[in-house]
Amino acid sequence: MADGPFNHSDDQPMVKDKDSAFFNVETDADHALPLHSGDSLDRHTRRNLRKEEIEIARQFHSGRMWPYVVAAWGCFAVWLSFFPLAIMGWLNLPLAFVLSCIFATGGYVTSHEAMHSNIAREGTKYRWVNEWVGKVSTIPIVFPFSMARLMHLEHHYHCNDPVKDPDYTDEASNMFAAWYKTWYNRQPGVDGSIHHYKRILAGMGTPAAEKALKDTMKLQLIFMTVLFAMAWSGYAIEAALIWWLPRHIGLSYIRFYLSWAPHHPREGKTNRYETTRIFKSRLGHVMSMCMETHLIHHLYPGIPNHRTKEAYFALKPILEKRGVDTSAL
């Protein structure tokens, strides 16, 4: 389980491979026009800065990924055990509720590493581990890995594009509106969140998109069947506290911290160094799921989530020269 070979090239455009894995090898030339504050830099300077940036970023691409595997599979197993334990009356429900909220929210982080193949690249011995980390991690939030990966990679390719970025619907004018929108976008008649994703997938029309739509339908039907069966068998409160409510809390938390907070304000911010902002979270780096330095992830998705802060401080002088506002951290 390790990162794939890092591409030093500064002369190739951003490409998708056949499995939509992400290669972050775009050139300065490709992004020279909309460089925002860094526009004042000449092409030669930009190119040298980019080489320096890649050289530093390269040091953070490797890292221990097994904790993500242990966390994903361990938490999923514990969460699954809550169901029979609740039915047998052997479960401390308030504690299970708190843990389920943590699993539902944190599951996105482990799944996110798998979306970028950071646990094991395609064609490597432990690729199946990568896939199964992704698959089990987002079951508590009823969000199939196939859909999550496709939509997340689309978000990277078209970050902050009002039409093409699947997460653009999370944009809101302030944090209170953003929290409200995390709930509002899940309403059945609103074209936000997973409803928006379904529409985008239907429009894509690829076999992968069709599979993602089918997986979504299956997982949602399983979710409803479990809730209805438990509720009518006398375990409605247990079902609500183990799955239904943690899913809603987790989705809102994820939408706020992983989508709104690092990308606000989205309008017009589409170039490489301005799609994501550096911010100071009131809840701290860990509780914000390392999103304070999410810019590093958008620049180098191969850097594991837990190393983005370290990478940010190493890259900070270069980011400042690129016009990134680093005053928050």
């Binding site: 059945p188 008649g189 409803m224 509720a231 006398g234 079902a239 609500a240 239904w244």
Partner: protein
């Protein structure tokens, strides 16, 4: 098949009102020792809330 599933998901809030909200209300009332009004049983009271709530959600597209 696809049309049937789409139909099913269209009516899902209504089914959710019956399948989950109603028993959740009933069991919560029992757990909190709250008596339903007019001598209704807890599950009937739950259904009286869950069915119209789910139905209005299908029509309006919003739970609230």
């Amino acid at each position: 098949m696809e049309a049937a599933v789409k139909k099913l998901f269209h009516w899902m809030p209504f089914l959710f009102g019956i399948g989950f909200i109603a028993p959740l209300i009933a069991q919560t009332m029992v757990a909190l020792h709250v008596e339903p009004p007019f001598g209704l049983s807890p599950i009937l009271f739950g259904l009286l809330i869950g069915i119209p709530w789910g139905f209005q959600t299908v029509i309006r597209g919003r739970w609230l």
